[in-house]
Symmetry: C2
Subunit: 331 residues, 2 copies
């Protein structure tokens, strides 16, 4: 049984949860995660990478369990002082979290790439999985709405995703290169998982980069997408609302269709079991299971099922989940 | 009785205390403070102005009463996270304090001068006195020691002023201009006070700037220096140790001599009363009083005595201390 080589595509919270499950299921060194950076932005001159941080904090075991992002037990003394100055921004950075942005910005100002910085920070937090920013070049997701074209964080945080979306742009993606090992990782992975992140806001920015879509079309690994939509609703965030506004039915079927040209497998939630045939008819395998991940055990359980599902999608079996059945109920 | 126009020269803690006393003694709008910026430095790309912040926080009533610098009740969550990253710097910035540096750096990166930034931040903290950085240009105090030439903060914080000092340099001061209204303020002040700050580390960097020494020589106001040395010891910090290392006797007499060419008055501590004649013989008036400022009332009391002393050093009386004698015991 050879070492497994899992590659996950992830945005923030949903992606981080499944990445954590995969780490428990196959071991941290066997997992690499390509993370969306289209949401990156600058605040007080600091380079902030929300999705990378959410994945990194989650894998380091320090993510805030309530929110899924930020650092557990973090405080807002710094933010309170900004309020005292009458200069509080619409984005709240915790005091501990701020250390990440200060260190990252300092290293980048000294010439390090986002990939190099991410690797250093993750190592220092004892994260053994590889977290790969999708690109070291700037890509900015712009959300075209009834209130105008908004940078992602303004749409998402400042306006709490309430504006009506008319379209999306990934500014800079035509010029941006995928970060150094991304294409090779896609080529050499033995399993690729598209996490239950927002297809338009988290996964499409990655797919928009030169070479990534082609690499997925040519990949030898089974590629499995996990639905972020259950019974017509997003598990979290604006996915369903946004699909409606873009004229697409908010349904797991449409998520499967969105990825249909390059995925071999789709993980459908048990609450949508009746959609199985419709998705299978697109020419992909379907795993029907409980896709909600309320806690760490549920993340591991879902990841284990994906490991087994992947083995069904390729000629030879690679190896099962590290967790035995008593540890991971439901497998 | 016309409005008074006090100008103080200050470094950090000692200067901030007397500045606060002056504010209580004559009212905040009547006081401007020229503050040393030779200790300014950069940490994680942030512009840090320790003396300006100490003066500003003190006048805003939010300084940490234990240390005299930093913000009361501040926390070190951010610093703790830096420790977790194995990247804790030797300079600890509190979480609230960090907001000041972030705002300052952002405004300066957008093109504002340090003077403009300081005025904005101070106003937002409801400080009605004018805090003037000595210069908007970079000046760096370098301490030449037996461990080599150290930037001020390395000497002061990292090495806790233990290296033996051989000399001082104010790097950049030959090219730096005093900040815009400094020279005019010296010309138009009706009382100038050199606070009990370190003559070499806090006041000399200001005096090293083009035009300041000449402006003091030509000033019509009485110029009064307050001793930072009592009974051969510094009230706080390295002044006495440094004087010895520079071959100067650590004595109020030598402080008076250091400023003798431009001051008219000297405030000597009551514990050094026997030095009065020696200092008077340099051709200046001497006020002998308790110069220690353990609390806000003692700061106001000392400031009131200086206000009265200044009136004795000029032809016409300008106006007394705002505080009546019951409020300011000892006047």
């Amino acid at each position: 049984m050879k070492a497994m080589n899992f590659l996950a595509f992830a945005g923030g919270v949903g992606g981080a949860k499944l990445a954590e499950g995969l780490v428990r299921a196959v071991g941290p060194e066997q997992v690499a995660i390509i993370v969306n950076t289209g949401d990156d932005f600058t605040l007080y001159g600091l380079h902030i990478s929300p999705d990378i941080d959410t994945v990194m904090y989650t894998l380091a075991g320090i993510a805030n369990p309530e929110t899924g992002w930020g650092i557990a037990g973090d405080a807002l003394e710094n933010y309170g002082m900004f309020e005292r100055y009458g200069a509080a921004p619409w984005f709240r950075l915790g005091d501990r979290d701020l250390a990440t942005h200060l260190l990252r910005t300092e290293m980048m100002n000294e010439g390090a790439t986002l990939s190099e910085v991410t690797r250093k920070l993750a190592r220092r937090l004892k994260v053994a999985s590889l977290i790969l920013p999708m690109s070291d070049d700037p890509v900015h997701t712009l959300v075209d709405t009834d209130k105008g074209a908004l940078p992602f964080q303004e749409y998402f945080v400042k306006h709490r995703w309430q504006p009506v979306v008319r379209g999306l742009m990934y500014e800079g993606s035509a010029e941006a290169e995928p970060s150094p090992s991304v294409l090779r990782r896609i080529e050499t992975a033995d399993t690729i998982v598209i996490c239950p992140s927002n297809p338009y806001l988290s996964i499409d920015p990655i797919l928009s980069l030169h070479g990534i879509h082609d690499a997925l079309l040519n990949a030898s690994a089974p590629i499995i997408a996990v639905t972020p939509i259950i019974a017509g609703e997003a598990v979290k965030g604006p996915a369903a609302k946004l699909m409606k506004e873009l004229g697409v039915e908010p349904s797991a079927v449409e998520v499967a269709r969105h990825y249909a040209d390059f995925i071999n497998g789709f993980v459908l939630d048990v609450r949508d079991a009746e959609l199985r045939q419709k998705i299978e008819s697109m020419g992909m395998g379907v795993l029907v299971t409980d896709t909600l991940m309320h806690n760490s055990d549920e993340r591991a359980r879902l990841a284990c099922e994906i490991v087994t599902f992947a083995d069904q999608l390729r000629p030879e079996k690679l190896g099962g989940c590290l967790l035995d059945k008593t540890e991971a109920p439901g497998v």
